[in-house]
Structures are given as C-alpha cells and as structure tokens.
Amino acid sequence: MEDLVLELKKEIIEALNLEDVTPEDIDADAPLFGSGLGLDSIDALELIVLIEKKYGIKLKDPSKSKEVFMSVNIMARFIAENRTK
C-alpha cells in the first residue's frame, strides 16, 4: 500500500501540474480539496481521468468523486479495491 500511496502522489503531481510540490509535501491523510492542496472541481475531473487511464477504474458519477478523493490514503484504498490494471 505504501508503494501505491507514493506512486499515487507522483501521479497526482504530474496530472495536476503541481510544479512546486514534492511527494514529501503531500500529507496522505490531509484533505485534497478545499484546504490541503486546495484542489478544485476541474482537478477532480482530471483525477477521474487519471484513475481510469492508469488503474482502469471508470467513475461515471462525478458526485462520488468527493468521497473517493477525500485524501491520498482514501484514494489509494479505493484504487487497491477496484483497479483492473
């Protein structure tokens, strides 16, 4: 799981072009949206694309993304349970 969390942090940084952020900067339990990294709705859509492209998970309902993307750890758990790639 640790490997997945680190990998996920790197993927998020790349997908969202967070130029100044390193994996060490991201607290895996901190909220991704609102506070924390301060991501917004467009970032949520990019993350939906990311989990489909990289992990084969199709998230059809954008409103579910709030739960899934609460934090990096929650996201990693969701991916571990549902990945097809």
């Binding site: 709705s41 467009i42 859509l45 939906i48 694309v49 954008p62």
Partner: protein, 398 residues
C-alpha cells in the same frame, strides 16, 4: 438608446432549415434532439441536435462543387446568411456598405480533426484545410454574397453570437456603419463533444432545462444571422422591420473558466445593463429566453440571477435548448431568431421536457399562450469563462 431595426433573419438548426420550418417545430413543441447521424464519434450514444443535412447536401443547396474545402460551420452559415440577406433585400452596392460580424469558436476544427492524424505527412490541400481558423470561417461564409465593408469574428464560446450582435449595434450607434449583418455559426465536432464530455456536463438523455433532475446539456449545431440597420438606412432602402433591438449588456462573471458563480453576478450585471440601455424596468419584459443549458450549475446560477433582477416582476421564462441542444457559439443568434418569431407570432416558446421545479428556482413556461401582448423579450447567452451577454428585442410599433 435609439432603436436599431432588424430587417432580415436567417436560421438553420436541428429544428428547421429556415424560419418557416423552425416556427412549425416551435409551435408543435417538436424537438430536434436525437441520435447522432452526421458526426462520427465513439460517443454516438449521446443525444445531439444536428442540422438535418450532410455537408454534401448543404454544398449542393449552395451550388458548391467541392465541399472538401468548406467547413461544416461555413456551409451552415451560408444557408442562414442567404435567408437573412434575401429577406432584407441586401445585395450589390448596399451589401458593400454593410459590415459583417460572425461568431464561431470551433472555426474549421471539424476539418482539422478529420485530417489530424495525417498532418505530419499530409499534402498542401489538407494543410490548407487544417489552417482554417475562426476568421477563415467568416470569410468563407461572406465571400459567396459579395464584398462586405468589413469582416470580423467574435469568439467567446457560448455567448459569441450575442457579442457579435452587440459589436454590430455599437458600430451602428457610433456612426461607423449604417447596416451590419451579425450572428454566428457552429458545427458539432469531436473536439468539443469530447471536451464537454470530459467536463462531465453532458446529459445521456434529452436535456431538461430548469428541471430538478436535470443532468447536463446536449450539444447542438446551427447558424443564424440578423440584418440590423439604422432607421435612416431602413427607410432609404424601403426595408421592412421584423423587430427592434432595444438594449444589450455584456459583463464578466470573473469566477471560473467553466462554471458560473452561485449568485450569477455576471448574468445579473449583463441583464441590468440591457434593461438600463433600453430605458426599461423589469416589469416591461414579457418573456425571457434563458440560456438554460440544462446543467445543474447554469440553471441554478441563472435562476438566481434572473430572480435578483426581476424580483416580483418575473415574466414567463423558458429555455429552448431542449429543442435544439446547445448550439454554443451560434446560440445567441439562433435564439434571437426564436425571439423574433415569438414577437411576430405572439407565442411563448415552451421549455419542453420539463417535469419538476428546482427548489427555489425558476418555474419555466410550458404553455405557449401568453397572458397578454408580448412587446419586449430578453434573451441571455452565457459563455465559458463567464462571458455573459443579454439582448432585448422588441415588437415593432405598427
């Protein structure tokens, strides 16, 4: 402001090729949204409002031998422009004095995306097609009719055509022109179909503007143009007015690139400006043709903005996008033509496919019969990036 006269109008959309067919569909409550027929895409299960002509059919109607070099937007544009110019009797020397302002955002994208994979190896011909930009689309539409005094192209996504109308109006009012021809055109492309799909704002069913259960918009395509002139020009040419442009407004929401602010500030300011310019109060408006895309965000935001402006004087409101789909850059002028028809034939375009009200939101009109005379109509067009525009069209005094 002094009135600006609209003396010609032409339209092509999913509900009609020309004003007559369009009127029939509007009165019958008949939608043009359906299965994708002309665009090739993996997402062909998404309902769309296509103009019921292939490019070859449109080219034939226009007497064009080879449609390869003509973008779909330009072909639709020419059909609509022809109708408008014919109605206004604008040609020859008079056309040479008229300024043409067209609006589009996709421009020649339908052609570029068709050849994109070949671009690195394509020949000169394909390269010509691929370099078609928004301005070229305007030139392609205009060149069939003669040489206008000037050409320009507005491009503000979904409010483009309304902004073309506004620029034209400013030209008339400051004396740079006596006649302007304004409007917009946009064809469906894989580019923006996929774009809107990626933003997850498309509905898998026919859209439901202002409905509690709305889930997004349907994309549409089409074109519409208006001939607008000063009173002096109209009288000199002996042209007959269809209606009057009484006011307009343009403001920026300045909130987000793809979402509207919760209180609809940009929309509010645009509508207020239009009323102010027209010297009107909210109670002077008898119908609002809303932007009403059917997305959760727009309809909520626009509801608030309309309520802020109109308060207790809320007139009937509807969105016609469940008829045509969202025709993006052309929507402002296509829906202006619907408003002109509504003024001429005294009916309220219905908000079809509506069932349940948004809590605290606008309840749109579903009965065509107006309460009294429709004298003034407000029409909204709100684009990505918060480019919000409104116009007021008024019945001509006999």
């Amino acid at each position: 402001m002094e009135p600006i006269y609209i003396t010609g109008a032409g339209v092509v959309s999913a509900i009609g090729r020309g004003k007559e067919e369009t009127l029939t569909s509007l009165l019958a409550g008949k939608t043009g949204i359906g299965k994708m027929k002309y665009l090739t895409s993996c997402h062909n299960d998404l309902p769309v409002g296509e103009v019921p002509f292939s490019n070859e059919e449109m080219a034939q109607k226009l007497g064009i031998a080879d449609s390869m070099f003509h973008t779909r937007s330009a072909l639709m544009g020419r059909l609509a422009l022809r109708e408008a110019l014919n109605e206004a009797g604008l040609k020859g020397d008079a056309l040479r004095e008229a300024h043409f302002i067209s609006a589009t955002t996709v421009g020649g994208m339908d052609r570029r995306e068709a050849y994109y994979e070949l671009e690195k190896t394509c020949d000169h011909n394909y390269a010509v097609i691929a370099t078609h930009n928004c301005g070229t689309c305007t030139e392609m539409i205009a060149e069939a009719f003669g040489e206008f005094a000037s050409l320009s192209t507005a491009s503000t996504a979904c409010s483009s055509a309304t902004n073309a109308i506004i620029t034209g109006a400013n030209m008339l009012r400051c004396g740079l022109a006596e006649i302007v021809v304004v409007g917009g055109t946009e064809c469906l492309t894989k580019f923006h179909l996929n774009g809107f799909n990626a933003l997850m704002i498309l509905d898998a069913q026919q859209c439901r503007p202002f409905d509690r259960d709305r889930a997004g918009l349907n994309l549409g395509e089409g074109a519409a143009y208006l001939v607008m002139e000063t009173e002096a020009s109209m009288k000199k040419r002996g042209a007959k007015p269809l209606c009057v442009l009484s006011g307009y407004g343009n403001a920026c929401d300045a909130f987000h690139q793809t979402a509207s602010s919760p209180d609809g500030e940009g929309a509010y300011l645009a509508m207020q400006e239009a009323l102010q310019l027209a010297g009107m109060k909210p109670e002077d408006i008898q119908y609002i043709n809303a932007h009403g895309t059917g997305t959760p965000n727009n309809d909520e935001s626009e509801s608030h903005a309309i309520q802020r402006v109109f308060g207790n004087h809320l007139p009937p409101v509807s969105s016609t996008k469940s008829f045509t789909g969202h025709t993006t850059s052309a929507s402002g002028s296509i829906e202006a033509v619907f408003c002109i028809l509504a003024l001429q034939h005294q009916f309220l375009p219905q908000n079809i496919n509506w069932k349940n009200p948004i809590e605290g939101g606008i309840i749109p009109v579903i009965d065509q019969k107006p309460q009294g005379e429709i004298r003034h109509i407000l029409s909204n067009a709100f684009g990505f990036g918060g480019n919000d525009s409104s116009i007021i069209l008024s019945k001509c005094e006999a």
